[in-house]
Amino acid sequence: MILLCLAAFWEPSRAAERSAASSQNAAAGMQLFERKIRPVLIERCYECHSTDAKKIKGGLRLDTRDAWMQGGDGGPIIVPGDPDKSRLVQALRYASEDLQMPPKEKLSAEQIADFEAWVRMGAPDPRTSEISNLKSQISNSQTAAKHWAFQPVTDHPVPRVKDRRWPKSPIDNFILADLEEKKLKPAAAADKRTLIRRAAFDLTGLPPRPEEIEAFLADPSPEAFAKVVERLLDSPHFGERWGRHWLDVARYADSNGLEINQPFPNAWRYRDYVMESFNSGKPFDQFIREQLAGDLLPARNDEERFERLTATGFLVLGPKALFEPNQEKLVMDVVDEQIDVSTKAFLGLTASCARCHDHKFDPIPTRDYYALAGIFKSTATLASAAGPQSRPDAPRWLERPLVTAEKAKEIEASTRELARLSEELRVLREFPGGVQSSKLPGIVVDNAAAQLTGRWKQQKLPVGTFVDQDYWHDANSDKGKMTARFAPKLPHTGSYEVLIAYVPRYDRATNVPVAIHSLDGPHEVTVNQKLPPQYRNAFVSVGAYRFQAGTNGAVVISNAGTKGFVTVDAAIFVPIDEWKLELAMAEEASKKALSQSQSEGSAMPTPQMSQASATAMAEAPVDRLSYAILDLRAKIQTDAATAMAVQEGSIQNSRINIRGDYEKLGDEVPRGFLKVLVRTNSKLASPIDPKSSGRLELANWIASPENPLTARVAVNRIWLHLFGRGLVETPDNFGLMGEKPTHPELLDYLARRFVAEGWSMKKMVRAIMLTSVYQMSSEHSPKAYAKDPDNRYLWRMNRRRLEAEALRDAILSVSSALDLTRGGSILPTNNAPRNNPMLAPEPVASNRRSVYLPVLRNNVNDVFQVFDFSDPHAVAGKRHITTTAPQALFMMNSEVMLEQSRRWAEALLARSASDDRQRVSGAYVQAFGRPAKIEEVNRALKFIEKFQAGLSSSGSTSNRLEAWQAFCQVLLASTEFRYLN
């Protein structure tokens, strides 16, 4: 009956065919609804769940049937016919902590029973009025899909312009057409000095050297600037500069950040990969594929395979909440971070907004987010391998070996050898003499327990064989004054074999008196300590004697009447039966050893013993062994290079996490891409292989010429770095909330050209620089400024500030301190302070280029922190530009500034061929790329003179240096140095 009733509600057309009984039930249901349900809904629910609500909570409305059928953010809330499965009922029952409705006070038991009955009846509801703007996104998505950025890139005719002489390239036509339309005149061309400084910083992040400026000035050919650009593009510093731009986007860092700020010892490989990609002219589409799916791309050789593995570090570099105890939550957070970085970096979309709800502005439904999430969930990013961390259960990121088969074998051998040496060292440290008393038969009295007379000297160097920690010697002096008494505590009366241990050497005494006190009375023997002892290389027997139980017996060794060193180490008292057994066993063992060595024809040292180990044994054991171990470790570390990289994980689709909560699961969504981009172009709908994560398909989909966003986003980033502002001002957001392009047709022209020229970044950079618009001066024009104060239409070049890295590198470059070594890591491997993973690693001091300074999340370098380096936790295609007092304080007082200006001043003063006027002028060329004017030289010299006089009356040479230092610091702190005209 209930089932029938249910069907009636869900399939109204067929309901008519049902019996009259069901309609009677329906009538009863309506009655229940009107009497019991509707009033409660109005009174207790509408405040938050109706059209009239101030704010509709949870995206759920209860004021029409269609509305609740559709449900809220968490999907449907009523399963007609089944109260227990209806989340509405669960909420009313206050069944779980997380979902209790109404929130302020539970309904009465009777009211809850009404709801249960109503749902059981199929939840009849007459309120059929149309659903309005509840899911605004759904209706919106039609309009949103028409957003410019989602439309295919189209060809636009190169605009005609009035001034035919100005354009050097079609790019100029697009710019000039707009300027002419707005009645704006482009600024004059920049002078050559300005131009080369601009180009040098833009392409390499370094100032032009004086001789480079001279060469450019002296070259009258129309290609002079093109030659400069070419030279700079070919410089390895190009990759350092442009690689760093990309690292901002890739939220590159050398430590994890957040609360567990572990260093990433191998992040630098990804950084070097990026720089090398820019230098080698790698096509951008390939660059994308490698970063998203390099591990899945075929490779021609190991080198290429390693390069592509390293590229996927892009997906691993994000900050991770490594302390998160819940694995699923951690995984979903990592997935979210990967979606965020991938969609922002390549597509300029903020897809991660759709984690908890449909994207508020862009046509990205939650389903699309979880389609992407499935791809990354099927990708392994975290490793649970134990590592050097305080909590062994904290998962780490994945690192994959960059090792050839040959190297792998070598590493295996080295690792085995390492284990062996470590064990050797351990034993050596614990028992430097090689014999442990606990492993000896009988009752042992070590020298530590002996009663001494005279001044015995301790010897514990691991040279020779001895028992436990050390032995004594008499230093070959005080003859007749030293004795050592070894008194055992014997368990029972009987016969014992007595053996004494000594350490033989050429300088030992040959007639050491040894007295045995037993039941048989005192008995004396002499021992030749030059001879190697027989038993275990440590002991010699002095005979068998009868002893009483207890402590009456003893062996006393003395140095009376000896010549040469006397050593005492230990004495053992072995019950005679045990001793016989021991002898028999020793004989057996020696036979075996003899036959073995004969069959192998071996000699010492044994063949598997390495050179290092052999040397270690032969000479100073502990030190040698320790060094051998260190060397071996270093070798293994170098051989066993690893890179942060991903691999295919367990292939799965993701279920929707309702409101982003990993515990509240909705529908499973097949792995896939963003529908809005698929819809606009059918070619972009490539299926995902059910056996793969879909990462490769995703990479291909993003890197496709058909993708309307990828090329546009990429060329916009290039434009941004050459003009200080993108054609789209929000480089990481091309969605509806992003800025519209100032020059949409130019953007499309560039995107087209970029793809047509093989996604070549260098070609695009060159194309943009060889235009009139790039080569304009930044001079002011009151007329143009009045019309376009923001210079949106590019009537002049923007004056741009040097970013943190360029500023620091320029300072070090001028002072000649800059170390131009390329690549590699300067992050110390133990850069985790006091083993506290919560503490940020320490910044590393170095004169290397800024791009090589480790980027430590939560502990960014001084200069970077002050000069708007982006927070390396997140994607940042564009940096803030702030001017702050801490920047001024840095320029005035920081160690960096004081040290570098001093260095520079010293270099200037050391120019013996120059006089002070030339020094000032030379300094101007170095700092500003131009010589000083006469009045500037005069002013500088006057300052130096006065400053020097003010320092003190002594007038020493150090005052002269300090005055010059003050002057040099002024140049480095000046706006002309800190900005590009």
């Binding site: 950040g257 957040l258 609360e259 909440a321 998160e324 903020t350 508020k360 502002r725 001002e729 929000t730 990481d732 957001n733 969605g735 509806l736 909330m737 992003g738 930044s778 002011h780 400024y785 104060p789 923001d790 949106r792 004056r799 500030r801 506290n836 503490l839 940020a840 939560n858 502990n859 708007d868 927070d871 936790h873 997140a874 803030h880 530009i881 702030t882 001017t883 007092a885 801490p886 920047q887 001024a888 304080l889 005035m892 007082n893 004081l898 500037e936 002013r939 006065k946 400053f947 003010g950 320092l951 003050a966 002057f967 002024v970 702190a973 000046s974 706006t975 002309e976 800190r978 900005y979």
Partner: protein, 472 residues
């Protein structure tokens, strides 16, 4: 007011608004002139900004007890916990929270009614207890994060998982600051762990809003300074000479550029920095305070020395128009063991200085519009940890307190369950605390937004309800 819409207005305005860090000298003298304030606001992102509604407090002093102070030993009396000391926790209280075999641990200190209000506070805080009538205890705090890192970040930024601006930077972003010669947001002796600088960082907000650290939690405050505040070599006179040349060269450059707000901004930033060099050391120099004041805070040796200095410095910043001042007590409140001994040590260090700060603010007439906030990243379990005299982390229920501007004094809000474990009545989530704090400062937390990556971000994300019950 919606500051984000202004920031987005135009590139020109953006550049001009960011034109100068802590603000600039030329404008400071104009601030009194209301008509010109508008002009100044265009150029300087730190000038005072209008609030959404009339504020109850103008500034915040946040006393951060790093590690998670125990609520049941201090501000949350639980008779049943005392009665059932040593017993196993009843099964109905253990759901998903405690290991079943934990034993209840009664507080070591007795609770008594204090002041006219009769607010119950334990004997652990004798000095503070005397100021009970100022305190507004929130006994129903709860938060997220079982670990320090997540919880500390949650407290400071509203998110333990994503990098978000700190509350101090939000406040300065929303309100600007009164004294353009000082930072708007300072944090005294901040910790380097558990997120470190992220706890006073500005994340995606412009860097002008980030907190300025003074020292760190492992150096005595008497040796701490703001970074680069002093030239190690030059006298102020010599440095002025140097600066004069620099500014001449800068002005030449500006002249060629004719008009450039960035270059103007740099020129002004140097003047401000030079001024700060004199202002800040004067402010941080506590020797100008009277002996009576120093004694009040316990400065002059003894366990109160360092925290006393921190509190007195906080008062001086408050007096001089700093908007958000955080005082950090080192990571000493994590009593997994030695509860009695270590809590007594902590209190010996902070009790007198905190009481002194409240008293001092009041006598200077500052308490009425200063919100003092006290607390840690979470509380502690009412049960013992292992067999030790210690308690584990507890984000489910704990106490923080406020005093001063806009909150009821001598008042306790909300409640935990019988043993002080979970907040059950008038629960105040960390997001709610943030919403309440902004509300007291005259800001609607749902309207204080910043547009970043295509979204309007808030301190409270999509959460937060003002705890209206505590408002006076």
């Amino acid at each position: 007011m919606n500051p984000s819409s202004k920031v987005l207005l135009s590139r020109r305005e953006l550049l001009r608004r960011c034109g100068c860090g802590f603000g600039y000298l030329a404008l400071t003298s104009l601030l009194a002139d209301a008509a010109r304030t508008v002009l100044a606001a265009e150029a300087n992102p730190l000038v005072p900004k209008p609030t959404h509604f009339s504020p109850r407090a103008k500034r915040v002093i946040f006393l951060f007890m790093h590690g998670g102070p125990s609520q049941v030993d201090t501000f949350d009396p639980k008779p049943l916990l005392i009665r059932d000391n040593g017993k196993l926790v009843p099964p109905d209280k253990t759901s998903g929270l405690l290991t079943p075999n934990s034993k209840l641990l009664a507080p070591h200190w007795e609770f008594h009614k204090r002041g006219q209000s009769g607010l119950e506070i334990s004997d652990l805080f004798p000095e503070l207890a005397k100021r009970a009538d100022h305190l507004c205890l929130v006994r129903s705090m709860h938060t997220e994060g079982q670990d320090h890192g997540q919880a500390v970040l949650n407290l400071h930024t509203g998110s333990g998982r994503q990098v978000r601006p700190s509350m101090g930077s939000w406040v300065v972003y929303g309100l600007g600051t009164d004294n353009q010669n000082l930072p708007g947001f300072v944090t005294i002796s901040p910790p380097a762990i558990n997120g470190g600088p992220q706890n006073y960082g500005s994340a995606f907000l412009p860097a002008v809003y980030q907190g300025t650290p003074i020292g760190s939690d492992n150096t005595p405050l008497s040796q701490a300074q703001i970074r680069h505040i002093k030239n190690p070599k030059l006298s102020p006179e010599m440095q002025r000479q140097q600066l004069d040349l620099l500014q001449e060269i800068n002005r030449d450059h500006l002249k060629t550029a004719q008009l450039d707000s960035q270059l103007e901004g740099v020129i002004e930033s140097y003047e401000l920095a030079f001024r700060m060099q004199t202002e800040v050391p004067k402010l941080t120099d506590l020797t100008t305070e009277s002996k009576a004041t120093l004694d009040l805070y316990g400065i002059g040796g003894g366990p109160t020395e360092n925290f006393g200095r921190q509190c007195l410095l906080a008062r001086r910043f408050a007096q001089h128009g700093v908007r958000f001042i955080q005082v950090n007590h080192a990571f000493k409140w994590d009593q997994h063991q030695n509860l009695k001994q270590d809590l007594e040590r902590n209190v010996r260090e902070v009790d007198q200085p905190i009481a002194a700060l409240l008293h001092d603010l009041e006598s200077l007439g500052l308490l009425a519009d200063t919100l003092v906030l006290w607390g840690g990243e979470f509380g502690r379990t009412p049960t013992a940890q292992g067999n030790a005299d210690g308690r584990d982390h507890n984000p489910h229920g704990f106490t923080m307190w406020m005093a001063g501007g806009g909150v009821k004094g001598g008042f306790a809000y909300g409640a935990t369950d019988d043993y002080g474990y979970r907040a059950v009545e008038n629960k105040v989530h960390m997001h709610d605390l943030h919403a309440t704090l902004l509300h007291l400062l005259g800001l609607d937390h749902t309207r204080l937004t910043y547009r970043y990556a295509g979204r309007d971000f808030r301190l409270t994300d999509v959460h937060g309800n003002v705890a209206k019950g505590i408002l006076s």
